[in-house]
Amino acid sequence: MISFKNATVEYQPGVKAMDNLNLEIKEGEFVVVVGLSGAGKSTLIRTINNLVPLTSGELYVDGEAVHDLSRKKMRALRSRIGMIFQGFNLVDRATVLQNVLMGRVFKLPTWRTVFGVYPKADQQIAAKALDRVGMLDRAYSRATDLSGGQRQRVGIARALAQEPKVILADEPVASLDPPTSHAVMQHLQKINQDLGITTIVNLHFLDLATAYGERVIGLREGKLVFDGPGSECTEEVFEGIYGRSLTAEDTLSEEA
């Protein structure tokens, strides 16, 4: 499904956020990416939908050559990739439903979006997405009225509304408290298991990584330094990835 071949991203000469990455992710996998800030987690996630373009190398996503895609095809690919953000990126003044319907925008003619006239079928898709994350009853609440956890669930619903093949989550729980973080991670896990959507999640809480990471990718200075199942991730492994000993900030809480 996703395939990096000697992929490099160089923001400035000499500063490699991605260094000659070779990585294969199969369809339906649930992958957690860990690494220090600046190690390249965000870059990795953002190259997949080309929010960050490769400087060199190749990247194939769902059969498309991302490094060489026209604008139009890029948008088409993006519509098949759902993204979840640390800051939720919701439109505050809009309702939950309106936010989720944003996920249908690519598949509908522009005039429908401009006038806000969405077909029943698309509204159903949005409703089902909301139901899956348990936010259906808040469909007409304004995004500002929600808590952080609720907002992220709406963010997940928005991604789901795209009926995506891939879900990218960039530090989705970094702003949330422990119980909510686990709830969100469980939603993502369930979606991956029930719908078979390839899921890639950036995390900096290592206990979450161990708990939810079927497969854990460790990055350091843009390079791949670890690739294995979460069960194999001991403290030493993480210290190897981080290049330093672990501190309290690296774990979410005492109890998982």
Partner: protein, 273 residues
Amino acid sequence: MSELTLPKKAIDWFRNITTLAIVAAVVWSLIGLEIKWERLIDLPADLFLIGTLMFGNLDIADFPNLAGAMWESISIAWVGTLIAALFAIPLSFLAAENLVGRPIAWVIRQVFNILRAVPEVILAIALIPIFGLTPLTGVLAIGIGSIGTLGKLFYEVIESIKKNPLEAADAVGANKLVRFRWGVLPQVMPEMTSFVLYRFEVNIRASAVMGLIGAGGIGNDVALALRFKDWEVAGMGLLIVILGTILVDAISGAARKQIIKGSNAKLPSAVEV
């Protein structure tokens, strides 16, 4: 999978009616005006022609005269704005509900509303028979016309002051005057000054327009030049209006930024102006 029902959505009557009203107004206007849209086809050519006539042969000799006229417009705007401020400041305190009673405030506010509604050009037309075709007419037109707008902005600021400095003044046993001087004034001065400057920028344009109907300033020169097809003069005049206005906007804008920066107040929203 079975169909899910979304919860019932409350109908926003206000929004729907307003939207409908606006659409109706637009359609009414479109039909009612009977615009000869064919004239638009010739527009680019016409504009280009005028443009070349006006700017093709600029004569630097015209510059001093027209620059002087622009200066006159700027002066009219400045003096007019100051006069407006002079009247607006005391009146605005009388319009602030947190300083005087509601009835008095209401009366003063209606006075402001009436003054706001008058286009300065109409005022100028009314004043010309009284004061003649002089710059003074322009000054008075702008002065009277701006009292309303400045007054409204001023009293809104006055009403939005924070209580804390006032509390502090009371706590140290200050009398009313001192309380005003140290509690109210410092909070409102920066914003008020900023509004005056913004109004000045707006009035530059009004004052150029004043000239079009003869109340002094560069508008006069441009209008005459256009009427007598003195294209180069019109072109130079237009250029000077543009440059002069941009210059005043830039200086005044920079001054406003500095004032607001120094006081940490919010940048005034130009909307109420």
